[in-house]
């Protein structure tokens, strides 16, 4: 019984890591652009499809496919960022909602049009089981947890010490003042957006061997799972997002085991509503910033 719960918690941490990597990009984009990126899951999907394409058609090994998936997504993110996301800076909130919904529709259906809407088999990754601290896990799951930790440590360092990180924090505080002191706000917005999209793609390629199937509509589910995470974590809050993602991952895995698999996808929003009733600014923010 206890080992079973522990096993579910470990599983939850793995899926929490996946959500965390996607959500942190979304929350950073929100911080800079003040727009909820409804297309964020689509970059997760694009990364996965890039890697799947590299493995299936170019017959490349998984690590190379991972790089190709992320780079392909980065290229698309540059185009979307230049033509759409940069224009959202300083626009009313409806603009962000509608524009990103539009992008989600375009990206998702272009992929379905190109590769067909059916499920595809993702072969690749490290699926051999290993034993750590008495838990048997697929190597890929261990890899996901390690990458998640690396990503968050890296982001913490970047956001705290680097020039671009300082600029990001500044823009998320006050756009006008940044423009006054000579920070190139559209450039910061573009870079944040590309970074966020690449993280989503990375998460997608890392998860693909665990999920096995790849399909055009997969991004939407990820978007809906990460939305509650970023609100619970406190919008724009990197550390809060990490903990919120872990809470969601563990809660989902416990609900799937003990309540019923069909309720798994509602856990996020149900938890979100409960949390918002109790703490309207999210779990980890002292006051509402947005």
């Amino acid at each position: 019984m206890l080992t079973m719960i522990a096993e579910q918690i470990v599983n939850g941490i793995v899926s929490g890591s996946v959500y965390a990597i996607v959500a942190v990009g979304m929350t950073m984009i929100f911080g800079v652009l003040r727009a909820i990126n409804f297309a964020h899951g689509e970059y997760y999907m694009l990364g996965t499809f890039g890697a799947w394409f590299a493995i299936e058609y170019l017959e490349l090994p998984y690590p190379v496919a991972l790089v190709i998936g992320v780079i392909a997504t980065a290229v698309i993110a540059v185009v979307v960022g230049k033509f759409v996301m940069q224009r959202i800076v300083g626009a009313p909130p409806e603009t962000g909602v509608l524009a990103t919904l539009g992008i989600a529709l375009v990206l998702q259906n272009t992929v379905i049009l190109m590769f067909g809407g059916g499920y595809k088999f993702f072969s690749g990754g490290y699926i051999e089981p290993v034993s750590i601290f008495g838990f048997t896990l697929a190597e890929q799951r261990v890899l996901i947890i390690i990458v998640c930790i690396l990503v968050f440590v890296g982001l913490e360092v970047i956001v705290t010490y680097s020039r671009i990180g300082k600029a990001m924090r500044a823009v998320s505080q006050n756009i006008e003042c940044c423009a006054v002191v000579g920070i190139d706000v559209p450039q910061v917005a573009l870079r944040t957006f590309i970074l966020g999209a690449c993280l989503a793609a990375l998460s997608g390629v890392l998860t693909a061997p665990v999920n096995v199937s790849v399909y055009g509509g997969m991004g939407e589910i990820i978007t809906f799972k990460t939305l509650p995470v970023i609100i619970m974590g406190g919008l724009g809050n990197v550390r809060g997002t990490f903990f919120a993602a872990m809470i969601l991952g563990i809660a989902e895995s416990l609900v799937a085991t003990y309540v019923g698999l069909q309720f798994r996808d509602t856990v996020g929003f149900a938890t979100l509503m409960l949390v918002l009733m109790w703490r309207p600014h999210g779990l980890f923010s002292m006051q509402a910033r947005f």
């Binding site: 909130p93 409806e94 992008i103 375009v106 939305l227 609100i231 509602t266 509503m273």
Partner: protein
């Protein structure tokens, strides 16, 4: 608006009345002029006009961006479908019950949700749709889960001994046309009343509105309920038109469609929303032959709309209206 009142009376007659009559005539004659498929697209557009009107009161007049419309649309559809299938009640009863129930459910949902600030409120309303779909899927004894409810009768009226059924596409069109016209008049009355002006005051500056004595909290809650009731009414007609409902009635896509109608047509205008629902729903139904291309075109339209017509089509409609009035 320009300084119209200083200019000389324009030559030519006021064409607004004439235009209105022409529009009404076109609406009445549509079944004779359009093919079956175009008529179907028009019916869907008019059905979506109901939740869009409700959403417009919320987004356009009170300034609350919401994605919950699909949840109340689904509640309305299921209420109506269940009543018709289980008890065989006539259409008008189902219709009213759908609106009332959707409005009533909006009360307990609105109380916690409306306390939230902009982005959190949007997410919370999105959550209603997701949870609504999960309930429709899993409360199998009531909703039959993923199989959905089928065999919902076409609208049937029974008044005393007389009863008749609306069966054909053309007669259904007239039914929807009457309902849509009544809803439009109702929204117009709400917006023109003192309550409508208070709503606009809340949209423009909530703190200021509160300080001049408008009970903003109560207003927001009531408007949220009214908008849910409109969505429920729309869902009821939708269920009777398609004769099936499934958990997919609770989908995010409907919420976004309704939002697009309102923001694309022109939030805070009635004519804009009517035009928007005809344009966006009609257009998307017409493109149904090629689903992927349709969605891509839809997405591109959204982007074009956001950046080139940030106020929707309302300014264009305004200009057309004053053209009819002045004809300079």
């Amino acid at each position: 608006m320009s300084s119209n009142d200083l200019s000389l009376p324009a030559p030519g007659r006021d064409l607004r009345l004439l235009f209105g009559i022409a529009l009404a005539a076109a609406a009445c004659l549509a079944p004779f002029l359009l093919g079956n498929y175009a008529l179907h697209a028009l019916i869907i557009a008019l059905i979506f006009l109901l939740p869009a009107h409700g959403l417009n009161l919320l987004v356009g007049y009170t300034g609350l961006l919401s994605l919950a419309q699909a949840a109340f649309f689904g509640i309305g559809a299921y209420t109506s479908a269940l009543m018709a299938v289980r008890f065989g009640t006539p259409f008008y009863l189902n219709f009213v019950a759908a609106g009332l129930l959707a409005g009533a459910i909006a009360l307990p949902l609105g109380i916690p949700a409306l306390r939230l600030r902009a982005t959190s409120f949007v997410m919370c309303t999105l959550g209603f749709v997701i949870i609504g779909q999960a309930i429709a899927k899993n409360w199998i004894s009531l909703t039959r889960g993923d199989m959905g409810l089928s065999g919902i009768p076409k609208p049937y009226f029974a008044l005393g001994p007389a009863s008749f059924t609306v069966s054909g596409t053309a007669s259904f069109y007239y039914l929807v046309l009457v309902i849509a016209a009544m809803a439009t008049v109702a929204v117009l009355l709400i917006v023109r009343s003192a309550a409508g002006r208070n709503m606009i005051a809340i949209r423009e500056n909530e703190t200021l509105a509160e300080s001049v004595g408008i009970p903003t909290w109560r207003y927001k809650l009531v408007v949220f309920m009214i908008s849910a009731a409109f969505a429920g009414l729309g869902g009821s007609v939708y269920a009777h038109y398609l004769t099936v409902v499934s958990p997919l009635t609770f989908q995010m896509y409907y919420s976004t469609t309704m939002l697009i109608i309102v923001l694309g047509g022109g939030a805070g205008t009635i004519s804009g929303v009517v035009f928007g629902s005809l344009l966006f729903v009609g257009l998307s139904e017409a493109l149904r032959i090629a689903p992927e291309v349709r969605m891509i075109a839809y997405g591109l339209c959204l982007l074009a709309l956001v950046f080139w017509f940030p106020k929707g089509f309302a300014p264009l409609i305004d200009r057309f209206w004053s053209f009819l009035k002045e004809r300079k």
